[in-house]
Assembly symmetry: C2
Homo-oligomer: 427 residues x 2
């Protein structure tokens, strides 16, 4: 494919009519395809099938004698805290193993900070004018939705490929005490796939914040979710925060939802002793404890870090061809055209697809007409405002491999149509 | 035992020294007993042992084809909503089947009402001056703790034996628009065991409230938790509210925690269509859905209303002797003394024990010294303020039968000592 911008106008018109014809032929196949859902496939869920029956009829007693069937254990089962603490690189005493959703833990920590403040707060975050979060973007729409629900102002911060633009972050947190938090997906980020560099982690831990009660919301959702042989590691953010005199700065979140069963996993919170104590104090008003049987099920099934790594390698084996189908199709159909870029991540759940400025909405519309669903335009940005209208999050995990290929083909055709239209408009 | 108040002072002194000697002899046995924990015994948990393995290795598909292992299903599994809707007497469409704790649902509904209001609110409840709940008392300490957490003012309302003092409730809700809610445990109430009469239910549904967004928090925690052959029914509060033009007035809560596994049950919310829609809208920000596998496990294990009834009868069979041990011991040691009254409930988890005015704190202290733990004094009242210092909640479910008997004996002895001291003080 030649670079489209270099084509003469009549060549572009020819290109447009060819691309349109291809897209129409694609649409005529009346397929129903979906690259919007960042959820595991049935094949991936099968990998943990053993968890269905790993607890025998009388296997309900934890190592400390706890009857997992009964009430209690607000912080979670000790062996679950130990197993997943080791996974997160945090001491078991600083880990809470909770229910089936880390999103809940993120929502609830924001909410209780908003209502009551956190350790170090002089007032609830709701008293800030207005409470503000930094949102490295493109990012995870559900993070932004939590801010929206509480009327928290969001400031988008560009990503660099190895974490947020720290010059901007440092400036914003230093000048405004209303800036209370930053959302970070530090490893195989949603959707960009980037991994935060050690330097960026250290700057986050070290930076001077006008708010004494600033928090990093460290959503390590993809900590063990490698795709290939390159297993990235990230810095120990909790230790770095401690080293720089900000021991309570980070709230770490994790989850087994994309390891075992998406709807039946175990959610994790890890932080300083003061933050863990604070969160337990809030949680105590709303629950007597999470489902410890499900935590025990996870401990029995995953066993140890080797067990986790072996399971995650099986996930990677099913995901790799799907990611390759997306990037391979894009290479083939869009390579050289100069109208889009896309990531080739080493882990996580997404390909981040940047089309020509001002084209994402149109690409998504055209794809929809051709039977392909992706996330709504703008949804990877705070307030659904993609300033360049260019980013599309692609989730290849859920559909079957041949559907992923077809969907990527249709999306590429839609991209060619939209880009050619756009270039022609400018002539 | 003669009525203590009728004894001459020297007889009372003699009685006190006898009671003290008995209590000291009891304490010398160095027992460790606990009547404080309203949780099922291991024997009760065994009744649902089949639930551990009821899901076979490939049994993860719901009737509508949902893969219960994956994300989704915010309102819960359709068959769980149907099964538990029927249990609550509410149409499945108006039921949400959620996580493992109805306390969470109560907490979260209060919180979102506080932050954002409910259908019919002109403003968030936090704007009321101050937001106020009526608290029929003695009641459930965790209800009161939720109010405390949000700074909601609590007004204690006496119970009548068949629900709250409705003259007082009607007056309070009519005169003050800041009165936003009332906590009700309508069946086998915690701790009084009372069952709300149809008349009281109707008055709750019908009463004029100054707040257009008033809600009844109807914690039907013991709806199927009969102890004997007398199975009480309560009025259909949702229908009554509708009939009287207040369709959105009631939030109903339920749970299987004291049916199957206390820590691994299914929590339920039921209400009007508008309230269900409102709650789902709030929940959507914090979770993608509850653990549907655990919901499926419950559906498979309990099957239908007959299955639920059969299980609950087995619970009753283990609980009856324990309740009888408490009331029988009290009859024997306190009968006729005129220093305490106690309930003999037809269901639920508690015996409500009223000692002489001004004696509960002392009885609890003496019992503690004799090795018996009960809930802290005052904990059945808002702000821990038992105006007559007389109520003690007794939970006989968890300890073994002989421990229940011993603990009741020690508590009775402590009651005699405290009462005799008190009467002598007044001479």
């Amino acid at each position: 494919m030649p670079e489209l911008k270099t084509l003469a106008t009549n060549e572009l018109r020819e290109q447009l009519s060819q691309s349109k014809a291809s897209l129409e032929a694609f649409a005529a196949r009346k397929l129903t395809l979906n690259l919007g859902r960042g959820k595991p496939s049935a094949e991936q869920l099968e990998l943990s099938l053993g968890m269905m029956t790993v607890l025998g009829p009388s296997d309900f007693t934890a190592a400390d004698g706890t009857d997992c069937r009964n009430y209690g254990g607000l912080a979670g089962l000790p062996e679950a805290r130990a197993l997943f603490g080791a996974m997160l690189g945090v001491d078991a005493a600083r880990v809470i193993a909770a229910g089936n959703s880390s999103l809940e833990l993120m929502h609830d920590t924001v909410q209780w900070a908003y209502l009551r403040g956190v350790p170090g707060s002089a007032a609830p975050w709701s008293a800030a004018n207005p409470p503000t979060f930094l949102c490295p973007a493109p990012g995870y729409d559900r993070h932004f939705a939590i801010c929206e629900a509480f009327g928290i102002r969001m400031v988008a911060v560009p990503l660099t490929g190895s974490g947020p633009d720290m010059d901007m972050v440092e400036r914003l947190v230093a000048e405004d005490p209303a800036v209370k938090g930053i959302w970070c997906v530090p490893k195989y980020a949603n959707p960009t796939g980037e991994v935060y560099s050690n330097e960026i982690c250290e700057r986050l831990a070290k930076m001077k914040t006008a708010a004494p009660d600033f928090r990093i919301f460290w959503d390590n959702a993809y900590g063990v979710h490698h795709l290939g042989s390159k297993h990235h590691a990230i810095a120990d953010i909790l230790a770095l925060c401690g080293k720089h005199g900000n021991p309570d700065r980070v709230f770490i979140y994790g989850s087994t939802s994309k390891m075992t069963f998406a709807g039946g996993g175990v959610a994790l919170f890890a932080s300083s002793a003061a933050n863990v104590k604070w969160l337990l104090k809030q949680m105590e008003k709303r629950t007597i404890g999470a489902d410890k049987l499900n935590q025990l099920r996870h401990v029995r099934y995953l066993k140890d870090q080797a067990g986790i790594a072996a399971l995650m390698e099986k996930h990677a084996a099913t995901l790799r061809p799907k990611f390759a189908a997306v990037t391979g199709t894009f290479d083939k159909l869009l390579g050289g055209a100069g109208v889009a870029t896309w990531t080739n991540p080493d882990g996580g759940y997404f390909v981040s697809f940047d089309v020509m400025d001002g084209c994402a909405r149109r690409v998504i519309e055209l794809a929809q007409q051709a039977g392909i669903t992706v996330v709504p335009a703008g949804s990877t940005f705070p307030n659904n405002a993609d300033p360049r209208d260019r980013n599309i999050r692609i989730a290849p995990s859920f559909p079957a491999l041949d559907e992923v290929s077809k969907a990527a083909e249709g999306l590429a055709l839609a991209t060619l149509v939209a880009a050619t239209e756009k270039i022609l408009e400018g002539r």
